[in-house]
């Protein structure tokens, strides 16, 4: 039991670390496209770790099912958001950032 809880705590901690990484990306990256990428990818990986940790703690299969469903749906929604925003940004004529020479 204690092993399981320790593993869950570890997974949640890793997940939180990915969330922090995502925010650092949001703070530091130079343009919309790269910020989208930080936000959507890092945060959802983080949520995956948190969901995995919580699934270890779940008492019954139904709870695990709900947790997995939440994660998959959030993942799909994030994919849609980044796709839509990036697609629209390109159409609006927004230029990706390039390193100045």
């Amino acid at each position: 039991m204690i092993v399981l809880e320790g593993l869950a705590a570890l997974l949640v901690a890793v997940g939180v670390a990915f969330f922090i990484a995502g925010t650092v990306g949001l703070l530091r990256f130079p343009d919309l496209f790269s910020r989208l990428h930080a936000l959507v990818k890092a945060d959802n990986l983080g949520m995956g770790f948190i969901a995995a940790g919580l699934a270890l703690l779940a008492e019954d299969a139904g709870t695990v099912l709900v947790i997995v469903a939440v994660w998959v749906l959030a993942l799909l929604a994030s994919v849609m958001v980044s796709h839509l925003v990036a697609h629209a940004a390109v159409r609006e004529g927004m230029q990706p950032w390039r390193k100045k020479r």
Partner: protein, 310 residues
């Protein structure tokens, strides 16, 4: 730890409200306001009111988002003007507002403890209500009359919005209110087609679970409306069938009134369920109400077409 989290949520709520009301850019204000409703859902969970959290999340993240962003889009050509305020108002009103906070906070300290509320009586009568979720029991049994009026408010709002439709120079339905926009992408299509069944499943679960656990007609209905709004945004040709939508919006309130009259004629009070029938009656009414709430909210989202420039 709990108090720390609650403090963060409460401060976040006030900060987001201030930002939504004072941000210089209107788009920023609307975006922060949408975030505010999300944080409200968190606050409801912390206050142990999951029914409210479900409703707030479903309404705030679905219908309200689309209504506000769509409304903002319609006003985009007007954005940018600024009107000065009278100096007296700028000085006096904040002082009055501060006084209000002081008085209300003082009153908060004087309130009697929660044990004097109606809660114990609800729990005492819960056995006879036909459901185990006390909130559902209050909404559909003990205070069914209020809920009846509420669904009429919802239907009334949908009718009122429809009445705002410009009679002359309205754009044709094809140029319709919600489906306008830049070309859609195949991915959005794919997403919508997978999301709709999932949302339907969750809505049915919320409705069914509403008898014994958090959930119910309002939560299920607003979730469905949110997903339908999402579908409309990706191009579901739903807006083309207004008669069906209106019929769906009316069926719940009508059934509610008929049930009330039927019970009254059958020798019980208005909206007093006959013994043994409460559970079935509540579940049946809730199912129809879910359909109606979803339809009425969707009609509210669709809104009215734009008036053509003269």
């Amino acid at each position: 730890m709990m108090l720390l989290i609650d403090g963060a949520v409460a401060v976040g709520l006030v900060w987001m409200a201030l930002r939504a009301l004072n941000a210089r850019r209107l788009t920023e204000a609307v975006i922060v306001f949408i975030g505010f409703t999300g944080v409200m859902a968190l606050a409801w969970v912390r206050l142990r009111a999951p029914d409210l959290a479900l409703a707030e999340a479903a309404v705030g993240a679905g219908v309200l988002v689309v209504v506000l962003l769509d409304g903002l889009g319609r006003l985009a050509h007007l954005l940018g003007g600024r009107t000065p305020l009278r100096a007296a108002a700028v000085v006096l009103l904040p002082l009055l507002s501060l006084a209000l906070v002081a008085v209300l906070l003082r009153a908060l300290g004087d309130l009697p403890s929660a044990a004097t509320g109606l809660g114990p009586r609800v729990f005492a009568a819960l056995e006879q209500s036909g459901v185990e979720n006390p909130v559902t029991a209050v909404l559909l049994n003990f205070r069914g009359f209020d809920t009846l009026l509420e669904v009429f408010v919802l239907l009334g709002a949908a009718v009122a919005v429809a009445l705002l439709r410009p009679l002359d120079r309205a754009l044709p339905r094809g140029a319709g209110p919600i489906t306008a926009g830049p070309p859609q992408t195949p991915m959005a299509d794919w997403y919508r087609r997978r999301l709709l069944p999932v949302a339907l499943l969750v809505a049915v679960y919320l409705l069914w679970a509403g008898g014994s656990a958090p959930g119910g007609a309002f939560q299920a209905g607003s979730l469905l409306a949110g997903v339908l709004a999402l579908g409309l945004l990706t191009g579901t040709p739903l807006a083309g069938r207004p008669a069906a939508a209106w019929a769906a919006a009316a069926i719940g309130p009508v059934a509610f009134v008929l049930a009330a009259l039927l019970f009254a004629v059958g020798g019980h009070g208005v909206l007093q369920y006959p013994p043994g029938w409460a559970k079935a009656a509540i579940l049946g009414l809730e199912s129809l109400l879910t359909v109606s709430i979803a339809a009425a909210l969707t009609l509210l989202v669709i809104g009215i077409p734009r008036r053509r420039r003269p």
